[in-house]
Symmetry: C2
Subunit: 257 residues, 2 copies
């Protein structure tokens, strides 16, 4: 089985390393960014290409781990009508391949990938979709080499899942950044927040997040809220978030109670 | 050593259980809510009171685990001028005790406590402050029975720390709630987000949150952002948060890059 990876960013890198760990060889890495292409290809003992016209035309599987706008540009340039074409994007319909190929699908790993942080792929849920049953079977087999958590969902479900992930991961991480700035202003190290962050993420394994909510907004502690807002007087962005989230939490629990 | 606990909510409960585990006895629990007072007192084999005039006047230590507005009301009613008075509030100055007592302080555990979720107190950082060195020593000894992570900080540092905790914990948990609503609309169980939430919290042990940021906002993927906003057309609150956080992330990384 000959596999080409189009892309060399965070998702491409972590997916390739997981495939390699499952003894599935990647033959070629394509990226417009030479440094990235070389770095990933070297880790995989694969060839690399920065020119789309040099991409192998005889591979069995093409993975597209690309930013959505680049994906649309690259697909028509791949000349392999019989191969299976798989993208890994959360918010891109599987049908994007339809005008060009007959065997195609999606393999969407629901995880946050950063270059300098290893991920245990066997615990990552992977969501797949395919143009036909035969291809679905093949993508499922491939996904099951990486993780036991493989789910078949539609493109409509996947985009909602991706949206949920933006709230649960990307926005959450940004709140960590804001909290790190606040403790730094208090001359305290960010580390002291880690047990709290860990417990917050851990609680929702046994409580719903609705039941797990704590803090001044849910207990309507106006005294604390006023003090916090006064501290944020010189940070317009943080104040905006504090006010909006406090208002929404208050509203939700006033309704629930 | 005779200890009275004023309050029977989440913080009071978890603190009492941790003290009990360290073989430190609580003699009496006071709460205006009888059900809560009885429930906690029973767990501790302590007496309970719902009438402030029945609170023991001969205890050595009084813990105040109360909402800020109630705290201000209760303090003047405790008739024990020689005892040590300790509150556990993040945003209340230690000086609140000054008009009434000479031995007082703060023991602020930085953690999120819910009734139905056990907490390993030995990993909770505890921040203390006291009216004088002797009391500081006593509070430190007490805190060290609960955890190895005891820090002496000022009231000004503590309120900032509390504010940071609201961002890192309370607001984060609310984002989990929003994400649970979105996956539910996609007919998917909340469970599938757990590995992502766990990894997001885990990443910041080895990367700064600034370096750990992923997602459409930081990579400026307008294609994805537009699709997500379209999905949120009927949810004004979620859309407001999506737009504001995306704008802030975009702004921060445009500056950083």
């Amino acid at each position: 089985m000959k596999i080409v990876m189009l892309g060399a960013g965070n998702v491409a890198t972590h997916l390739c390393l997981a495939l390699q760990k499952a003894d599935i060889k990647i033959s070629q890495v394509y990226s417009r960014t030479e440094v990235a292409a070389v770095k990933l290809a070297n880790q995989l003992n694969a060839t690399h290409s920065t020119d789309i016209s040099d991409v192998f035309i005889d591979a069995d599987i093409y993975f597209y781990c690309l930013k959505d706008s680049i994906l649309e540009e690259i697909i028509p340039q791949i000349k392999a009508p019989e191969a299976i074409h798989i993208h890994t994007a959360g918010s891109m319909n599987v049908n994007i391949f339809a005008p060009y190929f007959k065997n195609y699908g999606v393999l969407y790993p629901l995880q946050t990938f950063s270059v300098n942080k290893a991920v245990n792929f066997s615990e990552v849920p992977v969501f797949i979709e395919a143009s036909n049953e035969k291809v679905e079977g093949k993508i499922k087999n491939l996904a099951q080499c990486l993780t036991s958590k493989v789910f078949v969902i539609t493109s409509v479900q996947r985009i909602k899942l991706h949206l949920a992930a933006v709230f649960a991961c990307n926005f959450t991480n940004y709140l960590y950044t804001l909290s790190s700035e606040i403790v730094s202003e208090a001359n305290l190290p960010f580390d002291i927040l880690i047990p709290l962050i860990t417990e917050t993420a851990d609680k929702i394994k046994s409580l719903t997040p609705l039941d797990a909510q704590t803090g001044p907004a849910v207990r309507m502690d106006q005294n604390v809220i006023s003090k916090h807002l006064a501290l944020l007087d010189e940070s317009e962005d943080k104040k905006m978030i504090y006010e909006e989230l406090t208002k929404q939490i208050y509203k939700k629990y006033r309704k629930e109670i």
